[in-house]
C-alpha cells in the first residue's frame, strides 16, 4: 500500500513538473501575461477602482471570486479543527 502511495505521488509530481515546462521564462517581458494582462492592470486599475494599491485591487476586486474561496477555505479549516478537537463537559 505504501509503495502504491509513493508511486502515485511520484507520478503526480512528474506530471506537474512536466506541466511547468510550458511556463513562460521568469520575468520574460514578452510572455503573454506580461504583454496583455499586466499593462491592462497598470494602466486601468486606478482609473477603474480608485484603489492606489494595485495588488489589493486585483486580489479583492478583479480576482474577488478567488479571494472569496480563499476565505472560505480558511474558515473551513478552522471549523474542522474546532469540530474535531473541541471537547465539552466531562
Amino acid at each position: 500500500m505504501k509503495a502504491l502511495a509513493l508511486l502515485a505521488t511520484l507520478v503526480t509530481g512528474a506530471i506537474l513538473l512536466l506541466g511547468t515546462m510550458d511556463f513562460a521564462a521568469w520575468g520574460d517581458p514578452n510572455s503573454p501575461p506580461n504583454r496583455h494582462l499586466s499593462p491592462y492592470y497598470i494602466e486601468n486599475t486606478v482609473r477603474e477602482t480608485h484603489v492606489p494599491n494595485l495588488v489589493t485591487a486585483i486580489v479583492a476586486d478583479y480576482r474577488g471570486y478567488d479571494t472569496m474561496f480563499e476565505t472560505v477555505v480558511i474558515y473551513c479549516a478552522g471549523l474542522v479543527v474546532v469540530s474535531v478537537l473541541r471537547r465539552t463537559g466531562q
Binding site: 477603474e48 480608485h50 492606489p52 489589493t56 474577488g64 472569496m68 478537537l85 473541541r86
Partner: protein
Amino acid sequence: MKLLQERAQDKAVGESLIIQMSVRFLTPFIQLFGLYIIAHGHYSPGGGFQGGVVLGSSFILLAIAFDLRTSLRRFSERANALWGNIGVLIYVGTGFVCALVGGLFLDYAALAAIIPIDPVEWRSLGVFIVEVGVGLTVMSIMASLYWDIGSGGSLEEGL
C-alpha cells in the same frame, strides 16, 4: 518594590511579571496596528489576511503570557465563532447583494443602485468591505486554532 517582590513570589513557574506587564501594554497597540493594516490595505501593503493574522496573534500573545482562561475572558469562544461567521457572511453577502441589485456576482459597481454614489467609488468601497470580512474570519480562525490545538480541545490549560 517590596510589593512587587511579594507579588513575584506568588507566581507559578513560567509566569513573569515583566512579560505580563509588557503584554498588557502592548496588546491594544497590536490590535490597533491590525485594524490599521486592514483599513490601510488600499494604500500600502496589507489587507484582510495580514491584518487578521495580527489581530488574532494579539489574543494568542495574551494566552501565552497569562493563560488560556485570561485570553478567553477577554474574547469568549462564542463571540469568536460569531465574528468568524460574520466575516464570511460579509464577503459572500456582498457578492449576493451585488447580484441581487442587477450586477454580476461580486461586481461592487452595481451597489450604486442602493446608495447612489459614483460606481468607481463603490468599487473602492467594496474592496474595503470585503477586506473587513476577510480580516474578521482570519482573526477568529487564528485565535481558535491556537486555543483548540494548544489545550487539546478542553480550553482549560493551555501551553
